[in-house]
């Protein structure tokens, strides 16, 4: 409406008018576009960039989480590299990751098994998935009972075979394996499900062609199925390592004091303890930042390696 009024009063050519209208349309669209873009950007600024900036600053201060912060420069980082418990908890955290390849291998086997037409496979798939949807806290408590040295289910079962089981969670040698076993059990269903989907996505024609060429089942698994599910393996490895580096709940519930001689304490467990029990929020933040950088670097390396090894079929 305004456009026609303008055109009669200013006497512009039709071309100019069109351009003008175009520009105005652009301007309105730009404004809308900005509004839409603003939503995620403001969200990013508020909920990601600001907290990161704040954390970086907090890691340079001595702060109890309540009162004023005192700037101390890199002191926290210097302390951190001399902190024996930081080193041990980092070691423990990586130790727990031994469970990742074991868990992946088991879940691939399970997926292969449950991909066959065996009776009751839907029931099995459901059963293996139940731990995934259960509360981790509840699972940790149940396993804590199971691992009890005197009355625990596991030692009772071992006793049937004449084996005297250790006091799993109180022994420096067994506490980490005990937690790994639990974590594998808990994560099995999720990895299995992804593998199952990937296996079913492998074109049947490939298997048929290979079978015609005389490939046996193992060769087909090795040369067709495994390469085809590789993206899933990669995804699972990356997400498992990121999640594994933040392992906390099961440690905190099953070994509230970090295990005998600090043998089960994970890095996040140590961070939480420093931050909330000993009120060293600045130092704890510095540790979190180091952990964040570590996870970033590891993930970056994984993507690099994966790019080199990846291939695609048309």
């Amino acid at each position: 409406m305004t456009a026609t009024v303008e055109s009669t009063t200013t006497g512009l050519t039709s071309e100019q008018r069109a351009k003008h209208a175009n520009r105005r349309l652009h301007r309105t669209e730009h404004r809308w576009a900005l509004a839409f873009v603003a939503a995620p950007i403001i969200g990013f600024l508020l909920f990601t960039l600001y907290p990161i900036g704040f954390a970086v600053y907090a890691s340079l201060t001595s702060w109890n989480g309540l009162g004023p912060m005192t700037f101390v420069g890199l002191d926290n980082y210097v302390t951190l590299f001399g902190d024996e418990y930081f080193r041990i908890s980092l070691y423990n955290t990586f130790f727990y990751m031994i469970g990742i390849p074991i868990g992946l291998a088991l879940s691939l086997l399970l997926a292969l098994a449950l991909n066959r037409k065996i009776p009751g496979r839907t029931a099995f798939r459901t059963i293996y998935y139940v731990p995934v949807i259960s509360s981790l806290a509840a699972i940790a408590i149940v396993w804590q009972f199971a691992y009890n040295g005197d009355f625990g289910l596991i030692n009772q079962v071992l006793a049937w075979f004449g084996i005297e089981g250790p006091d799993w969670l109180q022994d420096t040698a067994t506490v980490k394996p005990a937690i790994i076993i639990m974590a594998i059990w808990k994560g099995l269903g999720y990895s299995m499900l992804l593998y199952l989907a990937a296996i079913q996505g492998v074109p049947a024609s490939l298997h048929e062609a290979a079978a015609l060429d005389g490939a046996n089942a193992f060769q087909r698994l090795r040369n067709i199925t495994l390469p085809m599910v590789r993206p899933v393996t990669f995804f699972l490895v990356v997400t498992n390592i990121i999640a594994g580096s933040q392992i906390f709940t099961e440690i905190n519930i099953m070994t509230p004091a970090g295990g005998p001689e600090f043998s089960s304490a994970s890095i996040v467990w140590y961070i939480v303890r420093k931050a909330f029990k000993y009120q060293q929020m600045g130092y704890a933040t510095a540790m979190s930042i180091v952990l964040g950088i570590l996870v970033f670097v590891i993930t970056f390396i994984q993507f690099r390696l994966n790019r080199r090894n990846s291939f695609s079929i048309d």
Binding site: W32, A35, F36, A38, A39, I42, G43, L46, F47, S62, N64, G65, L66, G67, P68, T70, N148, G149, D150, F151, P166, D167, Q170, D171, T172, N252, P256, A257, G258, P260, E261, F262, F276, K277, Y278, Q279, Q280
Partner: protein
């Protein structure tokens, strides 16, 4: 166009919503503009505490017209939640405080100085355990001194007493220990040896003299031997003294030399607790919070003073949890009043005592409770003696944080297992503990200065 506008409107609303979300986290007692006053009370505890406090709060609301919003958390989430509330500037008006974190909450300006309001409230502080009240006094340098400003009142005091299985001792024909004269360490070990027997004849002991947990029981041994964790002004860690080493060694020897406890690895778990309750253990610590469970057991038990290692006299620790008021409370007077109800109201105390989970805060009530006919355990007076006379604060109760203290336990297991001598270990751990204590004292000064 219209639809676009709608979408854009929705986007803007979402953005605005996100913005306000971060801005609306202030205000201590949300939305009480109707003229009705409401204060919040955050605590942790089980159903018994909840019931007791409900009664006290009801009475408080009747008396004052002030409503109370109660927030209960799990024991292990409490500290995190409270800290989040502080960070979010949304501190409950009234909340539990621990002895060990009192100083940081005071110097950070979170806790209100309630000295005057408590005086004005008419509550008789002389009728509450002095240790309990003094625990929440802080003069800016030392905590627990009688002249400091008051920052809270005790929720309870927790005397950690010692008990024996009366049924077991009688069956073994051992004269019952005297409730007024503590056993010497040799007597204690001697009786324990007589109690450690193989009843079912399978070659392994199935009844033991005792089974203690180093983290909760070592204090008594060390103190009765004249040792301590720190010097008086809490600046020097003194765990490397011969008295301390002797006490720790004797503790470890119970398992490794005297062999009067279940095997080493069991001592660090709950299992000796289970065995005590199954009637397999002769001597075991008893706290007031245990009484409701222990009274249901199949054997009789009673309390005695802790055995003494040296000539320092019988000793044990006396815990406490406190109730404080937020410095940012909009109704500080009402909040303090609530604290006096929770800590000192006779009905509320009676509910807690009836539930057998704590001793009364009120001394006159406690004395009547201890003198009750047919009380179980019979020697309830021992709890009171600890609260009144010989109970001591935990070593880290009045320092700025307990990290230095926890360090002792982290690597102690080899000593308990007899793989390392107490003296060696203590010499090794003392410098680490000293570092951490220095750090915590420095932090305390910094926090006090920053205020």
């Amino acid at each position: 166009m219209k639809r676009n506008r709608l979408i854009a409107g929705a986007v803007c609303a979402a953005v605005a919503g996100a913005l306000t979300l971060t801005a609306c986290s202030d205000g201590g007692d949300g939305g009480s503009d109707s003229g009705e006053k409401e204060i919040t009370f955050m605590f942790r505890g089980g159903p018994d505490e909840k019931a007791a406090y409900e009664a006290a709060i009801k009475k408080y609301t009747e008396d004052t017209g002030v409503k109370v919003k109660v927030i209960v958390t799990d024991a292990d989430q409490y500290a995190t939640k409270l800290q989040a509330a502080v960070a979010g500037n949304n501190v409950p008006d009234v909340f539990y405080i621990e002895q060990a974190t009192l100083q940081s909450y005071v110097s950070s300006g979170v806790l209100l100085d309630i000295t005057e309001q408590v005086d004005a409230s008419g509550i008789d502080l002389d009728n509450i355990w002095q240790y309990g009240v003094d625990s929440y006094r802080f003069d800016g340098e030392l905590q627990g001194t009688p002249d400091g400003k008051l920052y809270g009142l005790p929720k309870d005091v927790g005397p950690f007493s010692f008990g024996y299985n009366k049924t077991m001792l009688e069956a073994a024909g051992i004269p019952l220990p005297d409730k007024d004269t503590p056993l010497t360490w040799d007597e204690f070990v001697d009786i324990s040896k007589q109690l450690t027997v193989d009843n079912n004849g399978d070659g392994a002991a199935d009844q033991w003299g005792t089974g203690l947990n180093v983290q909760w029981n070592l204090q008594s041994l060390v103190w009765s031997n004249g040792g301590d964790w720190t010097n008086e002004d809490r600046t020097e860690v003194t765990v490397d003294t011969p008295e301390f080493a002797d006490a720790l060694q004797k503790f470890a020897d119970l398992t490794n030399v005297d062999k009067v406890t279940p095997s080493a690895s069991d001592a660090a778990t709950l299992d000796t607790y289970q065995r005590w309750m199954a009637g397999e253990i002769g001597f075991f610590p008893v706290g007031p919070w245990d009484v409701s469970v222990y009274n249901e057991l199949d054997f009789e038990y009673d309390l005695i003073p802790w055995p003494t290692v040296g000539d320092g006299g019988t000793a044990t620790w006396l815990g406490s949890l406190g109730i404080g008021v937020s410095a940012t409370s909009k109704h500080p007077d009402d909040a303090v009043k609530l604290v006096t109800y929770l800590s000192g109201d006779a009905d509320a105390q009676q509910t807690l005592v009836d539930a057998n989970i704590q001793i009364p805060n009120l001394i006159d009530m406690a004395e009547a409770w201890a003198a009750e006919e047919g009380a179980e355990p019979a020697n309830r007076q021992e709890f009171l003696d600890i609260a009144q006379d010989y109970g001591r604060a935990m070593p880290a109760a009045f320092t700025y944080g307990a990290e230095w203290y926890d360090e002792l336990w982290t690597n102690i297991q080899p000593v308990i297992d007899g793989e390392q001598t107490a003296a060696d270990y203590l010499a090794e751990v003392q410098p680490k503990m000293q570092n951490l204590l220095d750090e915590s004292n420095a932090n305390a000064e910094q926090a006090a200065a920053g205020n």
